[in-house]
Amino acid sequence: MIWNWSIFIITCLLMVFVGFWSGRKVKGADTDEGYLLGGKQIGPFVGAAALVATGYSGWGFIGAPGTAYAYGTIELLANFLYAPAICFGTLWFANYLRKQAGDRGGLTIPEYLSRVHRGTDKEKRAVHFLAGIATLVFLTVYVVGQIRALGYTGSVWLNISEQLASILLMLVVLFIAVQGGRLGIAASNTIMCVGMLISAAIVLYVIRADMSIGELFQRVAEIEPGMMNPQTSAPYGQGKYSVFLVFVYALLFTTCLPYMSSQFLTFSDKTKTHKVALYIAPMGLVLSVIPLVGLYMRIKNPGLAIADMSMPVFLNTFVSPKIGGLITLFIIFAMLSTVSAVVQTQAAALSYDIRSGLNMKEPKRSDLINRIAVIVIGVVSILLTYFAPQGMLNQFSYIGTGGLISMLFGPTIVQIFVKANARTCFWSMSVGLITNILLNTLTSAGWVEIPIIGAAVGGILYAVMGYITNGNKRIPDELEISTN
């Protein structure tokens, strides 16, 4: 326990230093751009590491080995598919989003949407407000789940109550976000990503020291052949190859979710996205080996009552206490990196998007308002985690990030091909969200399929309505003339 507390305190001090350092390093720290976009000075390595750390949350270390323990190699494939999705999503869409936001002046995804869609001031503000409020509400529910997991893991690791662990860890996140803004979060996420990669390497080393990966697969196949050659993609769908929908989901997750796609806007003008993708690929591949722990535990300890305990039991049984403590720290890192990016996006929605959407006056010290918003979001999230009725949270969490994906696919991705107006954007977002809610409440479709169907419906509406309102053209005459 002394070891765990020691490495926790050292890490906290490191993160505090990163927060201070970023606050001093960022260009235009007292402006919205400096705070929300890290002064647009993020390079390829930090950009890649921040995206990977945010994309691979604590799920990759706890949930994925648990699912592999219960269902087999389908989870190895499903978890891996996030790597190409983040890599190709960056390669195909980051440059476009970054250039458009730069040309039109968007600091957040909701603002970007209001700027790239033509229309009256009122229509643009409606788009800005709807995207901002949806980002705030759905990410709040998402972050509550993350804080709960953080509190549980931290409490076991530090031998304190869940509430105290959540508060301590959230204080670290808030400090980095308040002091360093987006640059602080990207810098700390880079450190966290390196920690996650080291953990994956240690896990692989421990398993390989006992048996080769080929032997591991062979022994799993001997115990349960269906775990190696599954006939369905359960828990990702009933079709044999439904698991590949996870790639589509993760691609939408990378390009449509504001806490992921807003990171594209933080890249420096000199940062080449093909270089960012080059870093993402090996990082993602290394993190994809983590579910092997679940398969290994299936051989070594087939009687686990709770599949999600496979990683904790693995660390307690097969790894020395000091290394186990270090890996748990990195698992907490994985959760923190996602929470920090989400909290910052929520705070931007509260302090910037909703204010702009309601046409409120710009405050003199906008950076101060942004920092206060981060603290408000942190406090409210902790209070919701432990005091809000669970039933209410469950209602929203079913929609959660999937709802945002369904809403934002049309205006973010289909917009590249069809230049629709703000009114179309508003209706596409509304219909995408309503479709998602209906599918959640009326059907038994899974969490992978629902956002994809919702996004498809919203996207088709965006394309058709946009094409018609453009006078049966992909790009309206007025835009073609202005670009010529």
Partner: protein, 40 residues
Amino acid sequence: MTGYWTIDAFIISSIILLAYPLINFFYQENKEKRKDVRTK
């Protein structure tokens, strides 16, 4: 082929994951070099 379709899919996808960004990187870098030479 390993005889397990999930592992085969994992291996093939891993090769694509590593090769595609690498090929794209060299293509883009060469394109920029050619552009630089032309502007000089």
